[in-house]
Amino acid sequence: MLQALEGSQAIALAVALCRPQVVAAYPITPQTHIVEGLARLIADGKLQCELVSVESEFSAASVALGAVVAGSRAYTASASQGILLMSEVLYNIAGLRVPLVMTCANRAVSAPLSIWNDQQDSMAVRDAGWIQLYCADNQEAVDTTVQAYRIAERTELPVMVCVDGFTLTHTLEPLEIPSRDQVDAFLPPFHFARALDPLHPISSGTLVSPEYYTEARHAHHQALLRAKDEIVTADNDWAVLTGRASGGLLEVDGPDDARVAILTLGSVFGTLLDAREEYPQLGPVKLIKLRAFRPFPVEALQQVCVGLSDVIVLERALSPGSGGIVGAEVRAALAELSAAPRVHNFAVGLGGRDVPLDIYPRLLAAIQSAFPVRFAILDVELDKLPAEDR
């Protein structure tokens, strides 16, 4: 049954269905409603779970880490500066191979201060060793949250579910919340093989000499690469159970004869679907929804880009002094193709800047140049800047 739910509320319900035993989080816009929702479920006796109030995001991540290592299923959520403050712990969680699930309610990073959406926060921790899955709508946020626990627990890797702040977290829309039976059938009770147990003491995360650190990093990298299979399997199994898939590693929508594709992460995908219908005269265009950014699906991406002349990568973050983050990785992956498409790269929707339908014709016009657009921030209004900053 479709219910009218705000994204955050729905994510809280999805987390609760996964029966977490410990939730630790520190409030930060636009993540707050998710944890408030969980707190309410706990207070109302609908979720048996320990809610740990902490004084910072560093502690939130640390409590969640400790809870999983003690054998509990745990959850946390954050955004923006909160993600940055917990970043040291995020690396530890990944390196310790702790299967934690968290939501990143994607938000711009200071300074200047912005509470609004872009994806600079999760991109800043892309090398922490977590799986990162980006959601295009709130139904995907619900379904991916449940899938994330199974992926995390089977791979012993943490999963960050990235959900565009406000654009998804604060949007009310009709959503299907899975039944308790469906989630229980999909997600077995958590058993952590390396849970700390005083009767069988082990050490974890200790000092590693140069003889072993390289191997630990290799093992972690391999685990992330292998996780691609689990991500696909989880989505397939979920689709069998519920009839809904979220796109596995990535999803392509559009006619086979299209020679141009636009690749996005997150909630811009739906806007582009509508824009393509609005401007049919602009010819066939494929839309690629990149769901898994870590692990980066090189092979799957190469496969869907064979035969394309141009790929436009849209992203809501950048690496100042370099350019696009996703764009650079897509370009590197496609360079291996024998007839590699031109890759154009744009940053859009920074700090909550609206991404309107008419972005679509503007993008398709911008790639008519002789050379591919290596990187540009779209919609910069230079007259707002002093001459020396233009």
């Binding site: 709508d137 949007t171 829309e173 806007t271 339908l357």
Partner: protein, 193 residues
Amino acid sequence: MIEVRIHGRGGQGNVVAAYLLASAAIIEGLFAQAFPAFGAERRGAPVTAFVRVAGQAVRRRCQVRQPDFLIIQDEALLHVPGVTEGVRAGGGILVNSAQGSAELSAVSGRDVISLPATALANQFLGRPVPNTALLAAFLTLMELLPLEALVKALGQRFKGEVLENNVRLIQAAATGVTPGLWRRSETRDAASA
């Protein structure tokens, strides 16, 4: 698809109004989407919220730039640049005001419908929160959804005395406008398109 933009100030329940309208549409089996565009998160600051109602899943997530309808919770906002921008031809503007529709239209230079929503809210709720009264008037003007759908949406969010008072409020507010004035033969179809 019908697109609505709601303008108000922090504390007037703009986002709740958008959520209630979308919820009422979803309860009626339509698809809908509602989301805010917060400015500063404080009471009194101008706040905008958006609602889309359609016969199929709403996929776009951009802000509503060319609304079919505006709901303005504070009449002073009628004079703020940009507030009435982009309203589609054949659309409508509903304003919370103690002035009558003709008077307010003359003053503002726009064809608007007014409802004394703050006074109604004070009367029925004892609080100057104009959002639910305006929604009731909007649904009555549109005849897109029955008032009962709004009652159900309120029931998902409120209970007890607050719910009962709001139900009495919206019934009273619905009598303050002409039923079907904004009804377009294609209204249902437009939502389905």
